[in-house]
Structures are given as structure tokens and as C-alpha cells.
């Protein structure tokens, strides 16, 4: 008779609980936004997405190969990083810049710190901020939609920052369907919300995490903008806020481990976003806000540790 397997408990494992399935769910959740981006900004957007994903995966593969580390590309986390970075870029960015950004995200931000689970900041965000500083002219702002009837214009955030009067020219409906200039994945709020619903339904993220981010920004602008709900809503829908709240502020690795900690993280990120958008030099604050909160994550984790039942303090 063949030898029996011996192992410690438990002898069963939750069906479908694996890192690759979690990452795959995140990829699936980002697809509506990616498709919307391709429809709005044309085939160029597809090339950007493919370049980012391919170079991210290849970078991780080659890095592991070079340092003789066990291959980890099978967990799809590089796909998530590549896709997320692409959604944060303009459709008209030169492709070579995409490659540099992806390689920076994977190699410098993730692999140098020890690979999946060990990175301190979100690779896609760090890469975007890096590109914002390096290739400012092609990363900041946004490409214009391909639809000929829409005139070339500034991103809604720039308009919004000119005050509530200028903001009146932006239709909320346009923000929902994404008919305005911006990065590939950030303009179509509906597509992002579909992804959000999918992640919540698949129990990958908790609904209250992105919501607390968006709610913080909403409340700040509601108070600041003279109790103008439309103005506050425009601020929530414009720019990369939803993209950041749904896909970046919910990244497991770089946010606190408990639900309470994650809400604190998101409120902090929301306040920072408001501060940067309102008082800072950049019209767009989400990336830098999340990046800053990433760095504060260990401290938030410490403050929001779960209390053990019956634990002696």
C-alpha cells in the first residue's frame, strides 16, 4: 500500500481561498474600467494597458530568474500592478514610458523589498507618482476622449478647482459615464462602481473601506463648498478618487490589517486628498494621499490592533 500523507491540522482548506484567485478577482473587477477606457479613449488605451501588464509580468519573471527566487508570476499580482498602473495613465502616453513605469513598480517598489506581501507602498501608485515627477508633461492631466463632438478641454478637476461657479458647467451624468478627459481608468464612474460591486460580492474587499474614503472627501467638500451637494459629488466622481478608493486603498499589503485600521487609513487618505486638491499645487491628490498613508500603515496597524477576547493587557 502507498504511504499515507501525514500533516498537522487542519486537513481541509477553504475552497477558492488562494492568493492567485484573490488577484484574479481584482483583475476581473478592473476590466469594466479598462474596457470603458478603451471605448472612451480609443485603441491607444489598449496598447497602454497591454504594454504595462506585459512589462510588469516580464519584469517580475526576469527578476525572480536573476536572483534564483521561486517564480511568483503565477499569483497574478504583477498583472494587477500593471493593469492598475495603466488605468492611472493617459491614453496618449508614449509606450516606452509605460515600460519604465511598470519596471519601476515591480522591481524597485515590490521586488527590492522582498516581493509580494513585503512592499511598503503600493507599487502602482509609487510608479505613477514617480512618472508624474519624471514625465510630467505626459502623465499629468488627461487625454481627451476620441469622440469628435467633444471639444478638447481641461480635466474636470482643473475646472472644479476654479470654484463652484465653473463647476456648474460640468454635468454629473458626464462624470458617471466618463465623457471627459482624464486617465484611462478613472473617468467612467459606472465602470468603477461595477468593479466595486464585484469585489464586495466576491468578499475580496469590505464595502465600507472605499466608501469611507469617498465619504470623507464628500463631507470635506460639502462643508468647504458651502453645503453644495452637487459640488461635493462632482469632486467624488472626478479625478482618480474612485479608482484610488476602490483599487488602491483596498490593497491588502499596504493597508492596515483590521477593518478598523482600514477605515482610519481611508479617512486619512480622504482628508489628505482634500487638502492636496484644495490647497496644493497639483489638481490631483489621490495618489500622493494614498502613498503617504501607505507609509503610515504600520503605525495605524499598531493603534487599531484588534482586542483579543479575554486577553490580558
Amino acid at each position: 500500500m502507498a504511504k499515507l500523507h501525514i500533516s498537522s491540522t487542519p486537513h481541509i482548506h477553504q475552497k477558492g481561498a488562494s492568493t492567485s484567485k484573490v488577484m484574479l478577482d481584482v483583475v476581473i473587477a478592473m476590466l469594466p474600467a479598462a474596457v470603458a477606457g478603451i471605448i472612451i479613449f480609443g485603441i491607444q488605451a489598449l496598447w497602454v494597458i497591454l504594454t504595462c501588464v506585459a512589462s510588469a509580468v516580464l519584469a517580475e519573471f526576469l527578476f525572480n530568474l536573476c536572483i534564483h527566487k521561486k517564480q511568483t508570476v503565477g499569483d497574478f499580482s504583477a498583472v494587477v500592478t500593471g493593469l492598475l498602473l495603466a488605468l492611472n495613465l493617459r491614453a496618449d502616453i508614449p509606450l516606452w514610458q509605460c515600460v519604465i513605469g511598470s519596471v519601476f513598480a515591480i522591481v524597485v517598489v515590490k521586488c527590492f523589498f522582498g516581493g509580494i506581501g513585503k512592499n511598503i507602498v503600493n507599487p502602482a501608485i509609487a510608479a505613477r507618482v514617480f512618472m508624474l515627477l519624471t514625465f510630467a508633461s505626459t502623465v499629468a492631466g488627461g487625454a481627451n476622449p476620441i469622440k469628435p463632438e467633444i471639444e478638447a478641454s481641461a480635466t474636470p478637476l482643473v475646472t472644479l478647482n476654479q470654484g463652484a461657479e465653473a463647476a456648474a458647467s460640468i454635468k454629473v451624468l458626464d462624470l458617471f459615464i466618463g465623457n471627459h478627459s482624464g486617465a484611462i481608468g478613472e473617468t467612467c464612474a459606472i465602470a468603477l462602481l461595477i468593479g466595486f460591486a464585484y469585489l464586495v460580492a466576491r468578499k475580496v474587499i469590505k464595502w465600507y473601506v472605499p466608501t469611507s474614503f469617498a465619504a470623507t472627501v464628500f463631507v470635506c467638500y460639502f462643508l468647504f463648498g458651502g453645503f453644495n451637494a452637487t459640488f461635493a459629488l462632482q469632486h467624488v466622481l472626478a479625478g482618480g478618487l474612485l479608482l484610488g478608493a476602490i483599487f488602491m486603498a483596498t490593497d491588502y499589503v499596504t493597508t492596515p490589517i483590521t477593518g478598523k485600521g482600514r477605515v482610519v487609513f481611508c479617512i486619512g487618505a480622504g482628508l489628505l486628498t482634500f487638502a492636496i486638491r484644495q490647497f496644493g499645487g497639483y489638481p490631483e491628490g489621490v495618489s500622493i494621499a494614498i502613498l503617504t498613508m501607505n507609509l503610515l500603515t504600520p503605525f495605524i496597524s499598531d493603534w487599531t490592533k484588534k482586542k483579543t477576547l479575554g486577553g490580558v493587557k
Binding site: M1, A17, T19, T308
Partner: protein, 455 residues
């Protein structure tokens, strides 16, 4: 803190295929193997020698030391071998092999034990070889003995009928077949431990997924206001004693204290029935209901088998679909994987699960992605992922402090953390490592203290 009513939180597929299977008595096995370590304390000491003839229920090994328990012959026949055997925990033990004569003759001198007061009652329970059949195998008399401590003021007896582990239905069948024995057991306790448990409430804690058993118990205990049938949600791990204590009484079991100090005793439902059976008839713990199930089992069944029956004998009755890849005694969350299908079932073997080759091997561990599911699913809220991390701290003082901060000492060994981990990390083992380290550290600390005091 928001008051959480039910701290168990994991939906594990129940897989109770045998819930409707009335236990079938197996044919008398040709031989039985009785290990001397079927209880939590020291090994029992054989008092028979090779060649002796024994009857069913005859004492063949006496208890030796604290929390030990006697062993009785489970078939009639001849002792053929007393030899060391390997056990899953690696310690090994002596085992008495009895070749059956096929007659299953009971000991002619057997009579129901006599007892008049608490001490003689406890002695009787002790002689019957009754141990906790839920898995810990702690001698039942010792548990009751602890309740005598006047400081503890035990006011609740929790009868653990949760059977929260997947597959197992042996306690369920016991409740359906012998509710009278459970009632007898409670009466014995009320009568002979009157001084300590006279006013105690008996709570039979049972998961809602056994409606027929709940019905039977309700009928049995109609009109007895000291017995409460406490229905629990069918969510793992209701049967862990700390979880049951909280869910039934709202009391919190603090690590490092004896269980009765929380004012409650906890005893498995089959233990109490087996105890009553012995006190009624004098037949000690010699056979039990065992669920045989698992992905590789052809016809899942409940069997009644003499303790010491080889698992391969049980499997002959149920049949196998394919070559076994793993044999687990107990439930899939907390059971023990054993090395050979020829090993015997013991007093606590409530189930035997046979896994096929495919389901025997769990996926390989990868890096923690900080998802927090282990913390979310931990019934007592230990920062499990943190334990994994701080175990790497080199400095022992710092490591001990950080570990205590994670709350790991409260761990109830339920394995929910390992079960849900998407990276398949062996988190439960990390908790065990941490607990072992803390124990060693505390001992060393104490020693250091003594040296300082004496010096």
C-alpha cells in the same frame, strides 16, 4: 466594544453525510489493539500477561499517576502480545493485543459499581475508564473533582453536544439512541455531587443542524427546569470549550486559568452517556460509535465497534472508492493524521476520515498578503498574522512581549486561521510554536526570579 453574541464565525461545509445513518454494530474483529495512552495523563500500566484469557470489560491495565485512566478488554479472548507501538504524536506507547475468541463473553463477575457519596461516586467514574470523548481525553472524574474546589462556585454544567466539526455524527447518533443515558448521567451528578452541583444549571449545547436530536432531548427533559437545551448556530467552532462558554453564558475564558474557575464545567455528551452506562450496568467504556466518512469512503456509515478495532476492519464494512491518501482520526479541522490504516481506534475516536490522494495534500504556503482574514475569522480575535511575523524577532524578551500583545495565549486551537488563509500559511502551527515559546519563556523567567530572590 460592540457586544458580539456569537463569536464563532466560520462557515465550514458540514458534510454530515451520515446524519441519518443508524449505527451498525460491526462483526467481532479478530483482534484488537489497546494502546495505554488513550487518555491525557500518564500511560496506564498493563496488569495482564501474554497468554492470559480475558473477558469483555475486564480490567487489563490500571491507571498510573495523575490524570491517567484504566483500560479494559474490549473483546473476550487471549492476550497475544504486549509491545511498544508507534503513535501519531511520536511518543509511542505500550499496546496490548487481544486475539478474540469471537464469543464477546462479558466478565462473569461484572456488576454495577456501588457508591454512596461523592468520593465513592468519583472513584466509580474513575474505575470505569471514562474520559472526555470530545477529543481531549481528560479523565471525567478529575473534571468533576475540580468542581469541588470551593473557590470555583460551579453553577453551570455545559454538556457539549455541538459536534461542530464536519463529517462527524457519532454524538448525534448517541443522542438519538440513548437520551435516557444522558438523563441518567445528569441525575447521577445531581445526586452524588449535590453539594457542589445541586443548584447548577445543566445546559445541553447543541448546534441547530441536528433538529431531530433537539426534538428528542426536549422530550426527554420535559418538565426538568434544571436542564436547558441551548441551541447554537451551526457555525464552526461552537464546540471549542472557550467559545461554548462565551456563547452559552457570556463568560470569557481567560488563558492560563483552570476551566472550572469560570464557574462552569464542560463535558462531552457521549462521555456523560457512557458514564451513565457504566454506573447502571458495570460495563466500562469498551465500545463506541464511530463515523467513517471522507472523500475516499464508498459508503459513509456510523459503526459501533470495540475500542481497539483496526481502522482497516472498519473500512472493510464501508468500502473504499480508491487508495487512501490520508487517514484522519477525529474531525478534519482538529483530527490527527495517522501513519497506518492498521492503527486502532481509541476511546476518543469519534470519527475516521479517509481522504483520497488528491484531497490529502493541501496547497503549498506562499507569502502573507496581509488580507486579515485570519484575524477576522479568529473566534477570540487574535492578531494571527502578527504572530507569524513577531516569531522572527531574535531578542527573546521583545519577542515574548510582542507575542503576548497579539493575544496568542487565548488561542483555542480551532484552525480557522489556517483554513481561510489564501496563502495557505500554517498559522495554527505558528500559534502553537508561539504558545510553546511563551510557556518556556515564563518558566525561565520564574527560575531567574527565584535565583535572584535566593541569591
Amino acid at each position: 466594544m460592540i457586544f458580539k453574541k456569537d463569536i464563532s464565525s466560520l462557515h465550514v461545509p458540514h458534510n454530515k453525510h451520515t446524519a441519518g445513518c443508524v449505527p451498525v454494530k460491526i462483526e467481532t474483529p479478530k483482534e484488537v489493539i489497546l494502546p495505554m495512552n488513550m487518555h491525557s495523563g500518564h500511560d496506564a500500566e498493563p496488569i495482564v500477561s501474554v497468554g492470559d484469557h480475558v473477558y469483555v470489560g475486564q480490567l487489563i491495565a490500571r491507571e498510573e499517576g495523575r490524570f491517567s485512566s484504566p483500560v479494559h478488554a474490549t473483546v473476550s479472548g487471549t492476550v497475544t502480545e504486549i509491545a511498544p507501538m508507534e503513535t501519531a504524536d511520536g511518543k509511542g506507547t505500550l499496546a496490548i493485543k487481544i486475539e478474540s475468541d469471537g464469543l464477546m463473553q462479558a466478565d462473569p463477575n461484572m456488576k454495577a459499581p456501588e457508591f454512596t457519596d461523592c468520593d465513592s461516586f468519583l472513584q466509580a467514574v474513575r474505575d470505569g475508564g471514562i474520559v472526555g470523548l470530545g477529543g481531549a481525553a481528560f479523565p471525567t472524574w478529575a473534571k468533576f473533582n475540580e468542581a469541588k474546589n470551593p473557590e470555583y462556585k460551579v453553577d453551570t454544567v455545559l454538556i457539549n453536544a455541538a459536534e461542530c466539526e464536519p463529517y462527524i455524527t457519532s454524538d448525534h447518533q448517541m443522542m438519538l439512541l440513548h437520551p435516557d443515558l444522558i438523563a441518567d448521567g445528569i441525575e447521577y451528578l445531581r445526586k452524588y455531587m449535590n453539594e457542589y452541583l445541586g443548584d447548577a444549571k445543566f445546559m445541553i449545547c447543541i448546534e441547530k443542524n441536528k433538529p431531530d436530536a433537539i426534538e428528542v432531548l426536549k422530550k426527554t427533559f420535559e418538565g426538568k427546569d434544571y436542564v436547558v437545551i441551548h441551541e447554537l448556530n451551526a457555525i464552526y467552532p461552537q464546540g471549542a470549550k472557550q467559545v461554548m462558554l462565551y456563547n452559552a453564558t457570556g463568560r470569557v475564558a481567560v488563558a492560563g486559568r483552570r476551566f472550572p474557575s469560570f464557574g462552569a464545567l464542560i463535558i462531552n455528551v457521549s462521555s456523560i452517556a457512557k458514564m451513565a452506562e457504566y454506573l447502571n450496568t458495570g460495563m466500562p467504556l469498551v465500545e463506541r460509535i464511530v463515523t467513517v466518512d471522507g472523500p475516499a469512503v464508498d459508503k459513509p456509515m456510523n459503526l459501533i465497534a470495540p475500542i481497539g478495532t483496526r481502522i482497516s476492519e472498519l473500512v472493510k464494512v464501508t468500502g473504499l472508492k480508491c487508495e487512501p491518501g490520508k487517514v484522519v482520526v477525529g474531525g478534519p479541522m482538529n483530527g490527527t493524521a495517522i501513519c497506518s490504516i492498521d492503527d486502532p481506534i481509541v476511546k476518543v475516536s469519534n470519527a475516521v476520515l479517509i481522504f483520497d490522494e488528491k484531497s490529502a495534500v493541501l496547497p503549498e504556503a506562499s507569502a502573507c498578503i496581509n488580507c486579515g482574514r485570519c484575524i477576522e475569522r479568529c473566534p477570540v480575535g487574535i492578531s494571527v498574522a502578527e504572530v507569524d511575523r513577531v516569531m522572527k524577532i531574535k531578542d527573546e524578551d521583545k519577542r515574548a512581549k510582542a507575542l503576548i500583545d497579539t493575544g496568542v495565549r487565548q488561542c483555542v486551537d480551532c484552525a480557522c486561521c489556517s483554513y481561510v488563509c489564501p496563502a495557505n500559511r500554517p498559522l495554527l502551527q505558528k500559534n502553537w510554536d508561539a504558545k510553546a515559546f511563551l510557556k518556556k519563556y515564563a518558566a525561565a523567567q520564574k527560575e531567574r526570579q527565584e535565583v535572584t530572590n535566593n541569591g
